[in-house]
Amino acid sequence: MTAVHTARPTRPGWLLAAGTVVVLLVLEEVLTRTGVLPADYFPPVSQIVAALLPELAGAPLWLQLGQTLQGWFVALVLATALAVPLGLLLGTVWWARALTRPVVEFLRPVPSVALIPLVVLALGTGKQSELFLATFAAFWQLLVATTAGAGAVDQVTAEAARCYGLTRAQTLRWVALPSALPYLMTGIRVASATSLILVVTAEIIIGVPGLGAQISLNRAGGSPDLMYAYIIVTGLLGWLINTALAAGERRVLHWDAANRGPR
């Protein structure tokens, strides 16, 4: 499926986005400089940037960034690979949904933070623990999105599939999955942030190498500038990831009413 025409952000769109960011940054700088925001808590942007610049030049930051990025990616892919088939199944087979609903609803609110000691005991302090925690959290969000999406198949479309003797697997793949895609893509963007957040949290608490470990170290070491610098790198990473996901989404969902372009 290739995109016929996609509502790609236009040049003024980019300028607008960048402009807003600049305005917000300048606002922060002014607010901290004038003392409206406490400066030792919220170092002015310029100060954070000053702390960040030397880091940007060194390899460690990029290494940590790579570690975090890798954790995020693997967790998101794992969660998707597990949640999508299961979600399609639960969305289309009512008795499977009925059977698992209480258990799913019970497990979803289990906070990953509470699981950390158990996960460390079972999986250790390495990447596996980070991956487990992030996958666990992202999985449920994707499962809900896919289940809801697969349940939202247009009834006439579903009946057409039935009439033309599509097998269950074919219906899942060619009818339920595309119908669920708009939900799923939103779910992926929600889960992507969740995955990133948990990877970073695991790095902070368990000490898995990555941006989170740096946030933790700089907080303990009395360098708030650097701590904020790493938090900002995390935020930027989130933004970048989302931009990439949104671009991918426009390709995958080019047929969705949201992306059909002007009529």
């Binding site: 006439v156 479309t157 003797g165 060619w174 595309p178």
Partner: protein
């Protein structure tokens, strides 16, 4: 071949159930072109849904070759009244037509050939790589027809399949159906609002009464087997049948309690 025996259909309502179809019985033979007509809201679509196994009749049974129908049999193809929603927005026209062929054990080349033929038959050769939402209403409807024809079913069920196409295309598609029937020994169950069309195409026309519906009358169409848009429609018998069917429908619409007048 297809036996509908005393089916009734009720829908749940806030206060109980409404009986939409009361008692409908008919059979469709091999190669027969069987048309159902009746006022809007009579229950034609509901009967078709029971026939295909998409809906379960509250009473009565539907049998295909002696076997009770519980879900859509693989030998059936359906063109839905709500054709636009029956197409998959995420597939091109070609993929939409090709999708049902995947289970038939055809080679890719055979599938391609069938899709090409069907699209050409409905006049959409040029639109194969478009998406359904890029097509006009009538073109979408023709995609749905192409999908059904390419599938080469034993029974083709069509719910007002020509409602959105122009008169000339409609005539062409009518003749296409007759030709396909002759070539592939198809049976057709057809719903239309166009009385001329019903008489022109059919071997028998069933007239459905207002809901809760029963069969008001089944009219055998004793016109020569070989139909022809001009010749057939000029026959006095055609005019007589047409007038008869039309007057039955008119009678039912005009006795409707909440009528337009």
């Amino acid at each position: 071949m297809l036996e509908v025996t005393n089916i009734a259909k009720e829908f749940p309502t806030r206060t109980g159930t409404t009986r939409v179809v009361d008692d409908v019985t008919f059979t469709v033979g091999e190669r027969e072109f069987f048309t159902i007509v009746g006022p809007s809201g009579a229950g034609k679509t509901t009967v078709l849904r029971c026939l295909t196994g998409l809906a379960k009749p509250t009473e009565g049974t539907v049998r295909f070759n002696g076997k009770k129908i519980v879900g859509p049999p693989p030998e059936f193809a359906v063109v839905f009244q709500d054709y636009a929603r029956s197409l998959m927005a995420w597939f091109t026209v070609r993929r939409n037509v090709e999708l049902p062929l995947r289970n038939l054990g055809l080679s890719a080349a055979e599938r391609r050939e069938r899709v090409d033929t069907a699209l050409a038959q409905v006049g959409l050769s040029a639109a194969g790589s478009k998406y359904p939402w890029q097509l006009s209403g009538g073109m979408q409807q023709r995609v749905a027809i192409a999908r059904a024809i390419a599938y080469r079913p034993q029974v083709l069920i069509m719910d007002e399949p020509f409602a959105s196409v122009d008169a000339q295309t409609r005539a062409d598609l009518e003749d296409l159906l007759l030709r396909v029937r002759d070539e592939t020994d198809l049976a057709l169950v057809f719903v239309t609002h166009d009385v001329d069309e019903a008489v022109y195409l059919s071997d028998r026309v069933a007239i459905l009464s207002r809901s809760p519906s029963r069969i008001d009358e089944i009219v055998p169409i004793d016109l020569p087997a070989q139909r022809d848009q001009i010749g057939t429609k000029e026959l006095p018998e055609f005019a007589r049948l047409r007038a008869h069917v039309f007057s039955r429908i008119r009678a039912m619409v005009n006795t409707e309690p909440a009528s337009a007048h």
